[in-house]
Symmetry: C2
Subunit: 461 residues, 2 copies
């Protein structure tokens, strides 16, 4: 008789697990049921800002694979609008609520994949019935915001709360739609995923397109009239807003997991072993934005909610469930983003992370160009490297540039992944041709500068 796999959460991690398990085990061997609270499977949450701005014209373009594909090609029983409300590990049973039929279903399982994703951080002021306040995590969120932006009276003033990736991208999307946009960030810099010096370059570009940035300022409440938001409240007074977008980040969605006794780590994410198994829980797996991962540089657990990890982790869980062997070796914090006319990339540790992890380091910032200086379209690029004292090992890197910049972080990410020193990196055989790089690629220029900085440090010690 077939065993049964239940997948909790039908987005990237869950569906990657389901399809990889299916590749290795046929229907007669493994029945697969996936419960998904929303209306969609496997969509690109990262694409939502581009749909809001109009750069991506339609919502359905963000859907990587629809439920029908999973049903037909992978023989996965996808149950949309089914919210799992309980997991009983002793009885090996999942309880779900059919949100449309308003009835409860119970399904037994042999194997469980917990892939419930993340939930937005929502401050108490935002738990309001006032119209015009939006999270930005699901396609439904995006749809609601788009409808609001097109409703009458037409919203004109937007406040984005939080200056992380989503906040920054949403601020740009809203200014592209012609709104007056203020970004409010509690910390003293937007884009806290990079160091302050690099973030300042990003802030300049945002101001350049007309976004007002207010840092060191917390939103403490909302003002509303007739059930519609009219302003956000701050210690420096209210900021008018007829649309408020929350970009305060997400936390692992672990309520059900915790209730079922799954172990959480220090980041609040579910703990998993290298194969994405939940330790001490036979045949229970977890993957995606609800788990914590090992940071390979700091050696500490981190919570990095990102589609690329969710896909990889889901795939690995699925391979293992399917009887194969695969492990997830951890993350190094690589991320890229487009901000106005800037490309931003980062990998490894920021200065503050390196300090927190106990490293002593030098950091250097090198200016260069994307192409040979004489080749048309060459644009400036700033590369920052952080290297451990004494060992010279690369600990982190950040890039800000105007074109052909963001994905250069991958070169640094692979160097960092392999524990290279900046001295070793100066010899790297990277592609050179005038349309693509100066004869010393910006990555090499930065590595050389880091070597010089290390040697100055060594001479002083």
């Amino acid at each position: 008789m077939a065993q049964r796999l239940i997948v909790v959460g039908g987005d990237a991690a869950g569906m990657a697990a389901a399809s990889q398990a299916r590749r290795r085990r046929g229907r007669a061997d493994l029945e697969i049921v996936a419960f998904e609270r929303g209306h969609f499977t496997s969509y690109s949450a990262c694409g939502i800002p581009y749909w809001i701005s109009g750069v991506v014209p339609g919502r359905d373009q963000l859907i990587a694979r629809d439920p029908a594909t999973f049903r037909e090609s992978f023989d996965v029983d996808v149950r949309l609008r089914h919210e799992v409300t309980g997991i009983d590990l002793d009885r090996r049973e999942v309880v779900a609520r059919d949100l449309d039929g308003d009835r409860e279903v119970r399904e037994g399982f042999d194997t469980l994949v917990y892939a419930a994703g993340a939930v937005p951080v929502t401050p108490s002021f935002a738990r309001t019935d006032a119209m015009g306040v939006f999270g930005m995590q699901t396609l439904d969120d995006g749809e609601a915001l788009r409808d609001w932006l097109e409703s009458e009276p037409r919203p004109r003033h937007a406040v984005v709360v939080g200056g992380g990736y989503i906040g920054v991208e949403m601020a740009e999307a809203l200014i592209q739609r012609g709104l007056v946009v203020t970004l409010v960030e509690r910390a003293d810099q937007p884009m806290s995923t990079v160091d302050a010096d690099m973030a300042e370059l990003v802030a300049e570009a945002m101001r350049g397109v007309g976004i007002t940035i207010r840092t060191g300022l917390a939103v403490t409440g909302l003002q509303e009239r007739d059930g519609r938001v009219t302003a956000v409240v701050t210690a420096e007074g209210p900021i008018p807003a007829d649309v408020v977008v929350l970009g305060l980040g997400v936390r692992p969605n672990t309520a059900l997991a915790e209730a079922a006794g799954l172990p959480l780590g220090p980041t609040g994410g579910i703990r998993v072993d290298r194969r994405m198994r939940v330790p001490g829980m036979p045949d229970v797996w977890a993957a995606g934005d609800c788990v914590e991962s090992l940071h390979r540089v700091s050696g500490m657990p981190v919570h990095v909610p990102l589609g690329t990890h969710a896909n990889k982790q889901g795939r690995i869980a699925g391979i293992n469930i399917g009887g194969g062997y695969a492990t997830f070796p951890g993350v190094i914090g690589t991320a890229v983003t487009k901000v106005c006319d800037l490309e931003v990339g980062r990998t490894g540790l920021r200065e503050r992370d390196a300090t927190a992890a106990g490293f002593e380091f030098v950091s250097v910032v090198a200016e260069s160009t994307s192409r040979a200086g004489y080749y048309p379209g060459a644009r400036p690029m700033t590369v920052k490297l952080i290297a451990e004292r004494t060992s010279g090992r690369l600990l982190g890197a950040q890039i800000v540039g105007r074109s052909e910049a963001a994905k250069r972080i991958d070169t640094l990410a692979v160097a960092l992944w392999n524990g290279m020193t900046v001295d070793e990196m100066t010899a790297l055989d990277l592609g050179y041709a005038p349309p693509y790089a100066p004869v010393w690629d910006p990555v090499l220029v930065a590595a050389r500068k880091a070597v010089d900085a290390l040697s100055a440090t060594t001479n002083r010690r």
Copy 2:
């Protein structure tokens, strides 16, 4: 009393050596004299095709640093138009001819850097006085071609002999200038730096812009009238040409070195140790297009004439001459080029190289896109990976795409440099955001496909 360093050849390698030595040793300690046959120091030969096409407007833009800079900022006695005609290692003396003054000069040295570069491979038929036949290695070559293209009667039919980087780039430059262009290549594919399947994509793009490609065909002679070339001769008949550009590659310029007793390796390049010293020759160094390098994957010596290596090697020689310590760990054959609307990247071994080195391998070709499929401007990209059987270690990679493709080879180059297996590579933490990559980057898609191919091979053995 100051010692004296003589540099033979004032291009990338020689001048990098001179300036690095100067950084570490002042004038009172080290006098530096550099002899250069041509009119220029440190220019970008790789940029010449873009100057011919008009993409780069002026010749002087290709000059990275002019002689005055070296004289003033680095206190290097640069002697242009001085052709070194002899090196006497016993007497520690260099003999040079001042080409303009037509007189001979002799200078003693304590330390010698031989950086004479490479010379074009010139078949006997091309040793002609006929006008309209051009090599393409120096700025003088470029100047002569540009003058010819603008002379009357205006040349209309161009034949490019040889389908390597320079040949392909020159064919494109000439078609951009409105000529009728035929590329003749003796081998059965143009762009022999990549495997035939990838080269076919390049050939298609070239045909797409109107370049006629004739492969498997050798040029055996020239026809001329009134001292002007009129056609190239082939076994399949003459091809009309009022301009012929030779792109048959280069070989190490070692005549003087050989005469002086410097050891040459199997590639014909000068042998050097890890610090760029010539073995057995005290205080004699060599760098750049005249030396051979270790290929880190095959373990064999190779001759890779490329500005990026010349700069690195010159820098390393200079650091060591200056009393520092640096080594050149070899090359892996990374190269990128723009061909019509294609970007081409390669690193490591081609299939034929892998076979020649004794490897058994699998190779896979994966299709993907440069950005998230739904993001505007996403373009197709083809990634080929070659991985060793059993170990799964990456041996080589090739990329052809329409945008944001070429420099992705750097990611693969760093993975290859570090001896990663394709299985390890599937977990790499690469940058993901819709404007820059699909959630599975093309590099990861290809690595996954290689893992599958390896596992199929393993199961069969």
